[in-house]
């Protein structure tokens, strides 16, 4: 037995440790970022995957190299570099050139973390600092260029800043233009998971959101309109910032009160930058300012021991208060927000959307009938339109276009048909003789890169000057009446041709010879 006795280790109590380790926390953060990453890659494609992979790999690699060069112990196993790389990638646009995530990760790990002493010593969040570094240094390449879209013309926050209407549903699902990690639903799911597991502090993320909401509500000019507030909350990295960036342990205060002050500071600064600043990426700067205030807060805001907090003695038997389990709160929150985003908000923003559609319509009518001063509804047309109300391809509106002197210069027929992703509505401009002047789309929600090519001249210009019956062909169009389909988008092409033919028919049967 003496042999075993000699093997015993002496240590100071306590002689046991919790299961939580640094790699465990980092693993959970990565896990909670996975939904947003996956949605981002699915929505934005292979380049997004490349950005994520490059950012993570170069973050880990630069940490390893930095430690080697500085003769420090290897720390890549703690997982913090993976988190930094992933956070950076998710805050970049999906069309960012692939060298930027690499530069960003190296900057984050070497300059922001390594040079300040490694994990736990950095004074600003490395991923955010790297993002801001890239934003300032490579402004052009970092700008998120919107893809072609029939309604929105800029990123949601850009549109919001220009007082335009944004589609919150898209922002919620992550299909709007924006950074890779822009799916609010996925971010919320991850963030609330971390909160349920007690990994992030509720007082930080919720005070950020509350501070931001209050400021936007009070000074945003639209009051506490839920749709407006939700649109602001869903855009510009507020959710990502509140749950994943501001809650970074190293750069946030440790006392509960300090965390609350810090969160409110970030929320309010973020709101100020959003309302009066001139950049859509301002939330990152708000968090960075919060980060640098942390040492100050930690120096002065310190909690007192329990015995010093109360004045006088309280004699009461303490009971564990009934608390709703955090996962239940988290799930309810997600469900409620998803419900609001998908239904309620639509009705709030329905009016502005209709107005915008009207404006888009008027513009496209002008486009297909240049020189028109007024659009009049010819007699009897409304009754005719009513007759075809239930058909798949039908006429919605028809106008006679007249110039300033009241001379008939042509007709505009608005036709709708069923495309691949939803209704295809277009305006057909006709000469008084019934030949097509031009067509313009007012509603198009087809597959990006396929059906969405319909408005491009290669396809839409084929209709110019044509009349009578048109035939859709695959490949090269030879005959006079043939239209070449968009390759890979036969449903959309058919819908467009059907709609145009319907418009021509309408001319022949109703408008021809009219006044």
């Amino acid at each position: 037995m003496n042999d075993t006795v000699n093997l015993m280790n002496i240590s100071s109590s306590p002689h046991t440790r919790d299961k939580w380790t640094t790699p465990y926390i980092m693993r959970m953060v990565v896990l909670s970022l996975l939904p947003a990453t996956i949605v981002g890659i699915v929505v934005h494609g292979w380049q997004a995957f490349g950005i994520v992979a490059l950012a993570v790999v170069s973050a880990v690699a630069s940490e390893w190299v930095f430690n080697k060069i500085c003769h420090k112990p290897d720390t890549i196993w703690d997982g913090s570099a993976v988190v930094t790389g992933l956070l950076l990638a998710l805050s970049l646009g999906p069309k960012t050139p692939l060298y930027l995530p690499v530069i960003g990760s190296v900057f984050a790990i070497v300059v922001c973390k390594g040079c300040f002493g490694g994990l736990g010593k950095n004074f600003i969040n490395p991923a955010l600092a790297a993002r801001c570094f890239l934003l300032i240094s490579f402004a052009n390449a970092m700008t998120i260029k919107p893809t072609l879209d029939a309604v929105a013309s800029a990123t949601p926050v850009g549109a919001l800043k220009a007082y335009q209407v944004v589609d919150i549903t898209k922002m919620f699902l992550g299909t709007a233009d924006g950074v890779i990690g822009s799916s609010i639903l996925a971010l919320l799911a991850g963030g609330l998971l971390l909160w349920s597991l007690d990994i992030i502090h509720g007082q930080i993320c919720f005070s950020v959101l509350i501070g931001f909401t209050l400021l936007i509500g009070l000074f945003g000019g639209q009051g506490f309109d839920p749709g407006f507030l939700l649109a602001h909350l869903c855009g510009g990295g507020v959710v990502m910032g509140a749950f994943f960036m501001a809650t970074d342990y190293v750069t946030s205060p440790v006392s509960r009160l300090g965390q609350f002050i810090y969160g409110c500071l970030i929320g309010i600064l973020g709101g100020i930058f959003r309302l009066w600043g001139n950049t859509a990426d301002s939330f990152s700067y708000a968090i960075i300012i919060g980060n640098v205030c942390t040492p100050l807060i930690d120096t002065y805001i310190v909690q007192k021991p329990l015995a010093y907090r109360k004045i006088g003695k309280t004699r009461r038997v303490k009971r564990e208060p009934f608390r709703i389990p955090k996962p239940v709160i988290a799930l309810t929150l997600i469900a409620a927000l998803a419900g609001v985003a998908l239904s309620g908000v639509y009705s709030v923003t329905k009016d502005p959307i209709e107005k915008q559609e009207l404006a888009a319509k008027a513009a496209s009518y002008q486009e297909v009938c240049p020189g028109a001063a007024t659009f009049e509804i010819p007699e009897g047309v409304e009754a005719k339109i009513k007759e075809t109300e239930n058909e798949t391809t039908r006429v919605k509106e028809a106008y006679a276009a007249k110039d300033a002197d009241g001379n008939l210069i042509g007709y505009v027929v608005s036709v709708t048909s069923k495309g691949f992703g939803g209704p295809v509505t277009l305006a057909v401009g006709l000469t008084p003789e019934g030949a097509i002047r031009d067509i313009a789309f007012t509603e198009l929600t087809e597959t990006a890169g396929l059906g969405m090519k319909a408005p491009e001249p290669a396809f839409s210009d084929q209709f110019d000057g044509k009349s009578g019956t048109l035939v859709l062909v695959k490949g090269e169009a030879n005959g006079e009446q043939e239209i070449s389909a968009i390759s890979g988008a036969s449903v959309t092409s058919t819908a467009v041709v059907n709609a145009v033919v319907k418009g021509l028919n309408f001319y022949d049967t109703v408008l021809k010879g009219g006044k």
Partner: protein
């Protein structure tokens, strides 16, 4: 309804190893060693000389002053030596060594129940003092001192500590299951000293059998109630237990008696009952031998002075095929890591835990820089900010440590160290800082004189 305190941790319990093992008396064969210091305060003074014959329950050393305690022999035999022997802290301390004759001849009949109805307050305390009872929860503070606060009328609560929040240990559980009426009697005796006090028996909810037994024993007693606590460490710590049971928080400069509370471990209450009603001095206590490396874990009424090694041998020794990595006197939270098992069991000891794996060694491999995650602040039962305290201590800013962060309020429960995901040695840092501040104060105080 369950009571609890703020913060705390819930380390793996491992109580299943020994929880069903019945308490049994263990009579050792080897020599018995009685350190003269088995309590907080001054060491006792030996009353015997080499070669003297002693009996079970014979006083072999007497208290030196008020804060001290008598020591009784737990065996019969001959005094072999009074010399320095190694004790469990690793130090060499003055001990009385008795050659055990294996007869265990008692000095008096301890099965005769005495009348206690007419005893005065002073007589009760005197019997406790004469029996050499000390706090059996681990600290070993002389019980008679605790029973004599300045104003006994101001005591509102007498708390029977049956929390046993220490992982692995199960002897208090077994004691409550088998000796519930005696413990309640002990509590009633203590309540007689404090006319305005209410008796609260506090037990964690992982011991349903003990709760049931104590409820049965306390049934019909108007001044005594049994309370179930949520299982959490350091529930059994005096301050946490007072907070959990009564809601009172008090600074470290005050004693429980200053806020109207007296806390007694259930083992101590049992010893009080034996001392007052049977004149039996404290020479045995309940004790758990457990851990993954023990062949047959068990609970014992163990005689003071028994060698840890001999008791382990009684439990079948180290489990075959398992290597003992760490031996703890007590449990993993508050226990003392032992360098050798050839040391005697003292009054205030309540367990031997033999671990097959050393969690500290494992944790040291996983140590990273502090993440500032704030878990230590969440679990601190005092409401301190260990993370900032560690920063201040490491930076040498003891002014901030003491004044701004209330670092001296730390009760050294180790919850922060257990919870730390970066595996930082927080409590060890605080121990050092505290020692340094106290040393500095002593120096400065001496300079003024």
């Amino acid at each position: 309804m369950k009571n609890t305190f703020r913060g705390g941790v819930h380390p793996e319990e491992h109580k299943e190893l020994s929880r069903e093992a019945r308490l049994r008396l263990f009579n050792p064969k080897g020599e018995m060693v009685f350190p003269l210091q088995q309590h907080i305060g001054k060491p006792a003074k030996p009353l015997v000389n080499k070669g003297d014959k002693v009996l079970v329950g014979q006083r072999i050393a007497e208290a030196d002053g008020m804060i001290s305690s008598h020591i009784y022999s737990s065996c019969s035999g001959t005094v072999k030596a009074i010399e320095k022997r190694r004790v469990l802290t690793g130090d060499r301390a003055e001990c009385i060594v008795i050659d055990n004759d294996g007869e265990f001849t008692p000095a008096a009949d301890y099965s005769q129940r005495d009348q206690a109805e007419n005893l005065s307050v002073n007589e009760i305390i005197q019997r406790v003092q004469d029996a050499g009872v000390v706090g059996l929860g681990g600290a070993g503070f002389p019980t008679h001192v605790k029973l004599r606060p300045k104003t006994p009328e101001a005591i509102e609560y007498v708390i029977a500590n049956g929390a046993e929040c220490e992982p692995y240990l199960t002897c208090n559980d077994q004691l409550m299951r088998t000796q519930a009426p005696a413990i309640v009697e002990g509590l009633e005796l203590v309540l007689r000293l404090f006319p305005n006090a209410e008796g609260l028996i506090c037990i964690e909810d992982n011991k349903p059998e003990a709760i049931h037994a104590m409820e049965l024993a306390a049934g019909g007693k108007t001044r005594i109630s049994v309370h179930t606590m949520i299982t959490k460490y350091p529930q059994g710590g005096e301050r946490s237990l007072i907070q959990a049971a009564t809601g009172i928080d008090f600074p470290i400069s005050k004693l429980p008696a200053d806020v109207g509370c007296v806390v007694q471990n259930v083992g101590t209450l049992y010893a009080i009952q034996r001392a007052v009603l049977y004149h039996e001095p404290l020479f045995s206590q309940c004790f758990t031998v457990t851990g993954e490396a023990v062949a047959e874990p068990g609970n014992f009424m163990v005689r003071v002075g028994t060698s840890y090694a001999e008791l382990l041998a009684e439990c079948g020794g180290i489990k075959p095929g398992v290597q003992a990595r760490k031996a703890l006197a007590g449990g993993p939270m508050m226990g003392i890591a032992m360098g050798s098992l050839e040391v005697p069991i003292q009054k205030q000891n309540n367990g031997l835990t033999l671990l097959a794996e050393d969690p500290v060694e494992e944790a040291e491999k996983m140590m990273t820089a502090c993440l500032r995650c704030g878990r230590c602040t969440t679990v601190c039962p005092v409401g301190l900010m260990p993370q900032l305290m560690a920063d201040a201590a490491i930076a040498g800013d003891l002014e901030r440590y003491e004044k701004k962060l209330y670092g001296l309020e730390c009760i050294q429960c180790g919850s922060c160290t257990v919870a730390c995901p970066a595996k930082r040695p927080l409590m060890q840092t605080f121990k050092q800082a505290k020692a340094e501040i106290n040393a500095r104060k002593k120096r400065e105080g001496g300079g003024q004189k």
